[in-house]
């Protein structure tokens, strides 16, 4: 059997190898990779940096894949020489390996700019797994990080570092971010969005020197200004790895010169991926390189194939909430016509370049939801003559099923891996594919940049008989998006009401599951400055009382910290008598509950009580349970009552993803059970422990320690940081204990109490805004949101009196 050696174990190379192996028993294959990791998805490194994925999650071909396919894998070995006469490659481990056919898939390397003092610890490139691990180890909350290079990779690195808590700046040589994909206008909108994330942007400036002794302390620009820097990432472009080929005497310019069949100047040697050069050009985006692999596989196995034709390069920025998509040409030229849409206020910019009624390029900033359609036009060279009047505004399609039905069978769904709709449908029918995971496994679709996941889901849903939707992620089938996505949509599209979300992104109706969730989301995203739609709320939140099994309601007045008075108790007793309340009960959380109240009596009872709502009916802030603390207790070391009442005052009247129970206890004996509450303050001699994520319900969970602080003010602030963070990031109906388990207390600490000052300030300001716009719900007794909110409707035609007893 012929021996095939591949130098390089990256995405393009191994994808090509997968194609070669589709022709059985042709070669005995050995792959050399100088990294020590099996083949992984390099595009996703930024999501590892951002903590969205673990290193293992982005592996494409695990070690078992090589074994199963009989591929010899040599990791951590760098090939130092190709001897074309002897047809061997020499490794830096001393190995000599014979080949009959050789595939060069060596990728590219970061371009390192000439910078004085660049050889320092904590100066990184951002290219491979080791870089990513190094960055993760160096990144810590508050560290000053500078990314040199405002291209795709640089911006993703900046966002990743920022998520790790760093204080990030981006330095870019030209006046336009992503200037290889965006025009100046697109760059302006992108810059705004990046700055909104809290990343500082320096345009049109070049770095000259890195200051510091061993570790960076600052970055000096050519104009002499120095800004502080502790971590520096270099993302200033890539250069093909062609040196080995050049030394072996193969034709090389910038990259290794190949023909349309990926053959180099030596017929036994082929090349694929970023190391290649074709017609004087090199490529750095994945889709055309995967096409190369398909051509190479056919050519090297002597199968007929068409020549490689570079597809339009497409780039999508993978930063949540910052939609940027660019494909094909991006700058106007004399023979292109421009179609443009721009809404500066919401930062949406769309530009199409059209030549001879065909799409030549597209730039989308702020809303890339239509990128697949434009990509399809580009790929298929679609004649747009009949659509010229509405190129930017397609007919809205309400049903996802119709969208996938409209896709032609030959259309490529996954641009990265080149998977067509027909291939996906075939996999579903012939291989029994039912889940996204299986689809990825069998077709590889959606394993690249992941932007086709929605379409793949849609196809599975429409075609697979036993489709198992990964329902956990999407809120509801009425609005099939995750809550994280919805939050971003609400914010970036400036949507202020539930009905608008449903009209724009959903089925227009919603249901009992998504409507209360969306009500919460629009409230929290706009800090209460939204357009409230009571019809989308559960009945409890329309009448501010808890519905009981007989349709009556319960009333729980707020008794902050559980501290009441004789006068207050008398009022409660009088109300109970006056309205014939069926039961008065002291609940498990030091609350007094008046049960069995008719809806129409609610406003009168609230008026008679003159007390605020205890929010016992709401996914909101319940009363804070306290012990007596230093006020009376001989063991007390902290004033639990004052702290508890203050805590309650700061948060009360706000909605939370689920009910939020809190307690403050004045000593570690923990009489108020603070360690099993959503938020607890545990008093100690001279300090407070702030604990979060405790539970004593369906499950019991001891709360995690968020921080230990000395003063009550600090404890209240730590609690506030967590409280607002939970409000903004938890899914609706996710209790704090599930939330803390899902994210991990380390991450939560980093993003709350240990976050950089402006992040902490932002959380507190948004909490303050929500608080300012909130009010005691029971005040609606005087100003109802609708005249019949509490009042029973009396029919206009009076009911005749029937004398039943006489009959």
């Amino acid at each position: 059997m012929e021996k095939l050696v591949m130098i390089g174990n990256g995405m393009a190379g191994v994808a090509c190898l997968e194609n070669i192996l589709k022709f059985p028993n042709k070669f005995d294959v050995t792959v050399f990779g100088d990294e020590t990791h099996p083949n992984y998805n390099r595009i996703m490194l930024s999501s590892v940096l951002a903590g969205e994925r673990e290193a293992d999650d982005i592996t494409i071909n695990g070690l078992d894949w090589y074994q199963k396919n009989g591929v010899g894998l040599r990791l951590g070995v760098r090939i130092t020489k190709i001897d074309r006469e002897k047809r061997v490659v020499l490794g830096d481990d001393g190995s000599v390996t014979k080949y009959d056919k050789l595939v060069l898939a060596m990728g590219s390397s970061p371009i390192i700019p000439r910078l004085e003092g660049i050889n320092k610890k904590n100066v990184f490139t951002f290219r491979n797994m080791d870089d990513t691990r190094g960055l993760l180890a160096a990144a810590r909350p508050g560290a000053k990080a500078i990314v040199i290079g405002g291209g795709l990779l640089g911006l993703e690195a900046a966002r990743g570092l920022q998520v790790q808590g760093c204080d990030v700046s981006v330095v870019h040589l030209t006046d336009t971010l992503m200037n290889r994909q965006l025009d100046a206008t697109g760059g302006v909108h992108l810059r705004k969005r990046i700055e909104q994330l809290g990343v500082e942007v320096h345009l049109g400036r070049s770095a000259a020197a890195i200051q510091g002794n061993g570790h960076p302390t600052g970055l000096t620009f050519e104009d002499g200004e120095t800004i502080p820097a502790e971590i520096i990432v270099i993302a200033a472009g890539i250069r093909p790895n062609a040196q080995l080929a050049r030394e072996a005497g193969l034709a090389c310019n910038r990259g290794i010169v190949v023909d349309g069949y990926m053959q180099t100047s030596d017929p036994r040697i082929y090349a694929v991926g970023e190391c290649t050069e074709y017609n004087g050009e090199t490529w750095g985006l994945i889709a055309p390189l995967l096409d190369q692999g398909r051509v190479l596989a056919s050519a090297i196995t002597n199968h007929e194939t068409e020549m490689w034709k570079p597809s339009a390069p497409a780039a999508k920025l993978k930063i949540m909430g910052v939609d940027v998509f660019s494909a094909g040409e991006y700058l106007e030229s004399e023979d292109t016509e421009v179609v443009r849409y721009e809404d500066a206020a919401i930062g949406v910019y769309k530009k199409l370049l059209v030549r001879d009624n065909r799409l030549a390029g597209v730039v989308l900033v702020g809303d890339a939801s239509d990128s697949n359609r434009y990509m399809d036009w580009l790929r298929n060279n679609t004649d747009l003559l009949v659509r010229r009047k509405n190129l930017l505004f397609p007919e809205p399609v309400s049903d996802r099923g119709e969208v996938v039905a409209e896709i032609a069978d030959s259309e490529t769904v996954c641009g990265c891996l080149g998977v067509t709709k027909a291939q996906i449908i075939q996999a579903i029918h012939e291989k029994g594919v039912n889940t996204m995971a299986q689809l990825k496994e069998t077709t590889r679709a959606s394993t690249g940049c992941g932007s086709c996941a929605g379409t793949c889901q849609g196809l599975l849903k429409a075609v697979a008989p036993d489709f198992e939707e990964e329902t956990k992620k999407i809120l509801c089938k009425c609005v099939p998006y995750s809550q994280d996505n919805l939050r971003e949509m609400i914010l970036t599209q400036r949507i202020k009401s539930v009905q608008e979300v449903l009209d724009i992104y959903g089925d227009g109706h919603g249901c009992e599951v998504c409507k209360p969730a969306l009500s919460y989301l629009v409230d929290v995203v706009w800090c209460g400055d939204h357009s409230e739609d009571r019809s989308a709320r559960f009945i409890n939140d329309r009448v501010h009382a808890n519905i009981q099994n007989d349709g009556t309601f319960s009333v729980i007045p707020r008794i902050r910290g559980g501290v009441t008075s004789a006068a207050e108790l008398r009022k409660i007793a009088d109300v109970a008598d006056k309205y014939s309340v069926r039961m008065v009960k002291i609940t498990g959380s030091q609350r007094i509950d008046l049960l069995g109240v008719k809806k129409e009596d609610l406003p009168k009872i609230w008026e008679d009580l003159g007390m605020p709502s205890g929010q016992g009916y709401a996914k909101g802030v319940r009363m804070v349970k306290t012990c007596v603390g230093t006020e009376f207790c001989r063991f007390g070391v902290q004033d639990a009552i004052s702290a508890g009442i203050e805590l309650e005052k700061r948060f009360e009247n706000l909605y939370t993803p689920h009910k939020t129970k809190m307690a403050v206890t004045g000593c570690p004996r923990n009489c108020a059970e603070a360690t099993v509450k959503d938020i607890g303050l545990v008093g100690q001699e001279g300090s407070w422990q702030v604990v979060v994520g405790g539970a004593a319900g369906k499950s019991v969970r001891k709360a995690d320690l968020l921080i230990t602080v000395t003063t009550t003010d600090e404890a209240l602030e730590a609690a506030a940081l967590f409280f607002q963070y939970y409000r903004e990031n938890a899914n609706y109906l996710e209790r704090s204990y599930d939330f803390v388990e899902r994210l991990g207390i380390e991450k939560i600490r980093k993003e709350t109490v240990y976050a950089q000052p402006k992040v902490r300030k932002g959380l507190l300001q948004r909490l303050q805004k929500s608080k300012t716009l909130s009010k005691d719900a029971w005040l609606e007794r005087r100003e109802p949101v609708h005249p019949t909110q509490f009042v029973q409707i009396q029919p206009l035609d009076p009911t005749p009196v029937v004398m039943e007893s006489i009959q």
């Binding site: 009571r534 019809s535 009396q794 029919p795 206009l796």
Partner: protein, 112 residues
């Protein structure tokens, strides 16, 4: 004459229901939006929950007690799959007033 005038439609907020008692029957009347209204017995066939307090979804309402979904146009239970229904009534709006057709056999004053 079994059309009974209930109330000015302004008293029914968009996509909400209200309870009203006519001829000793407790009805739930709804404003479904787009000029559509509906009326059913105000008792979920499951455990008698007050349908007027449910969340409206399209032309159905979801009972606030255990989330049974009642189709307001037919009275049928849409979720879960059970073969029970609640009584629904014809409605029309006359001069801005919601009126409900109460069949004569259901009218207490005529029942005798």
């Amino acid at each position: 004459m079994s059309w009974i005038r209930i109330t000015n439609v302004d008293n029914l907020p968009l996509r909400e229901g209200r309870k009203v008692v006519v001829h000793d029957r407790e009805l739930a009347v709804f404003n479904l939006g787009n000029g559509k209204y509906a009326a059913v017995d105000n008792a979920c066939p499951h455990r008698g929950g007050p349908l007027c307090d449910g969340i409206v979804t399209g032309h159905a309402v979801v009972c606030p007690l255990h989330a049974w979904k009642i189709d307001l146009e037919t009275g049928n239970v849409a979720k879960p799959e059970v073969c029970v229904r609640t009584l629904n009534y014809e409605v029309q709006v006359v001069d801005g007033v919601l009126t409900v057709y109460l069949p004569e056999n259901l009218r207490k004053d005529l029942a005798a």
